[in-house]
Amino acid sequence: MNLPSTRALPSTRTPLAPRTPLAPRRLRRLPLNLAALAVLVTAAFPVYWMVATAFKPTAEIQSATPTFLPLHPTLDHFSTAIHAPGFGGYWRNSLLVTLGAVLLSLLVALLAAYAVGRLRWRGRRAFLLLVFTAQMAPWEALLIPMYVIARDTDMLDSLSMLTLVYFMTTLPFTIVTLRGFLAAVPAELEEAAQVDGCTRAAAFRRITLPLLAPGLLATSLFGFITAWNEFAFANTLIIKNQDARTLPVWLSSFANVFGTDWGATMAAATLFMLPVLLVFLFLQNKVTTGMTAGAVKG
């Protein structure tokens, strides 16, 4: 830990450092910084390699000695990926399903979080336990019954079934998180507005909702990532209608799409990652402020 060790033990240490003061400290930190560098490279390299490959001409990709910087960067692979059959449609499908699921789950969770966080009622504890249990639900184990249910209700190959499934998979987490964020907004503010003549709903909409905005954004980020990435259900529930496929399924079948065109595959993977990265960067500030607010108050 970054402890003020010299202050704690002034007599045994050498606080005034008679010899060169900085060099030994630097030297002592060298293994630590080398380890940090190793972690940094290990973490970042695969992502770097994906992006770098996407920009390399095919000749550079298929060379016996890999080049670590694209010598002649090209956008050809991105063009191949974008012009691949169905690409635009799969993007649209993924966006529709993801945004639909996130919005639906935010709305439903907001109602439930309000009931749990602001009102006293019989069965509240049982409801919370249900939500916590649902959070650990074994979704992958439900692939077969979901398939059968979708088939029975004529919802196979439909994006609405997928949206509903993603809504349900993200809902418990959304309720739990929103409840935490709601706890950080003092109920007294709402009560004051009610005293001033607002209805309960209006007080919530005008006072609490704006304060809850960072929490809503942070929560939707996690829902977005979960739904955007989901593979197993998308792969099971969309079978015959290939036009209704989502990006993860399309990307996973790259071998059939691009053959051994690794440049195009890496370009497609880069494009697939882009929205998540953008959402992450855009929301990071709000996520951290929201989290701190929750931590301080909660």
């Binding site: 830990m1 630590l32 972690v39 973490a43 390699w49 490959t53 439930a112 749990v116 439900l142 249910i149």
Partner: protein, 304 residues
């Protein structure tokens, strides 16, 4: 409860109206599928029954079939090994990285944390695709690097044709994806430990290992329990990575329980056996987590 009669009905039913959408959603998309899964697992439910309907009940035949099949036990043992190996690696490496982060200078720490967040934000399928490219036999950079290091056996080595090698790549992939969450969560916990605790430990003459064992571990125990059980759930149920990389192959070497259930249902159209396998998967996972789950429920119950 006589006092309950005083508020108007509207106020009393409000909470139940607010949670109604959640309950309807959970009933249709969680409880019904769970019940349906249980029913299918005690029926004879194959391709014909899926089309015609009217599946006959067969009692526990499907469970008997599975439990007497040596392949099921091989898969179960492999799943437990896969989960244990991944969880130990993720929690261990996550702890080391977290301990490293608190000791780093500000700029280096920011750099490492950004890289970890980048990994965390990488979608599973994108990461899976990249690992296939890293370990590609002819132009994969891993084979090139191993060859340069003098391990010439890895020149054009086909990772995905060998069972042990495929298993290794999958472990590397899952560990690489999961360490950031563990490391960042544990780092968050470490920053909350008061410096005085470490100071007094130092004054008492505790070494680095003793300090870690006697100060850090006890304070972070709840967080360790949370991270470990989340990683157990996550790696046990892990499906997408395995399916995309190997579909459980080569020769079934990477078939874990979720992959196994999917294979017998989707490829062999034995939905009944698949449902029974899913049920057993969940039961095994619950058994493995029972103590943690009980503790979590107790805490939440007390809080609510």
């Amino acid at each position: 409860m006589p006092t309950d009669a005083s508020p108007p009905l509207r106020t009393r039913i409000r909470p139940y109206l607010l949670i109604a959408p959640t309950l309807v959603g959970a009933a249709y998309l969680l409880l019904y599928p769970v019940a349906r899964n249980l029913v299918i697992s005690v029926q004879h439910f194959r391709m014909a029954e899926l089309i015609r309907g009217g599946a006959p009940f067969v009692g526990f035949d499907n469970y008997t079939t599975l439990l007497t099949d040596p392949k099921f036990w091989t898969v179960t043992l492999r799943t437990l090994g896969w989960t244990a190996l991944n969880t130990v690696l993720i929690t261990g490496l996550g702890t080391l990285v977290a301990l490293m982060l608190v000791r780093l200078g500000r700029r280096m720490r920011l750099a490492v944390m950004s890289a970890l967040v980048l990994v965390w934000a990488t979608p599973v399928i994108a990461a899976t695709t990249v690992f296939q490219w890293l370990f590609q036999s002819r132009f994969g950079v891993v084979n090139w690097a191993l060859d340069q290091l003098g391990l010439h056996g890895y020149h054009d080595y086909a990772w995905f044709a060998h069972s042990g090698a495929t298993f290794t790549v999958l472990v590397l992939l899952v560990v690489w994806q999961s360490v950031p969450f563990a490391a960042l969560t544990l780092y968050g916990g470490l920053t909350t430990i008061p410096a005085e605790l470490y100071e007094s430990a130092r004054i008492d003459g505790a070494g680095a290992w003793q300090t870690f064992r006697l100060v850090t571990v006890p304070v972070l125990r709840p967080l360790f329990a949370l991270v470990t059980s989340l990683e157990v759930i996550w790696t046990f149920k892990c499906f997408a990575q395995i399916w995309v990389v190997s579909q459980g192959g080569p020769n079934g070497a990477t078939t874990t329980l979720p992959v196994y259930a999917f294979q017998i249902a989707q490829n062999l159209h034995k939905y009944d056996l698949g449902s029974a396998a899913s049920t057993l998967t969940v039961l095994i996972l619950l058994a493995a987590l029972v103590t943690t789950l009980r503790r979590m429920h107790r805490q939440e119950g007390a809080e609510a």
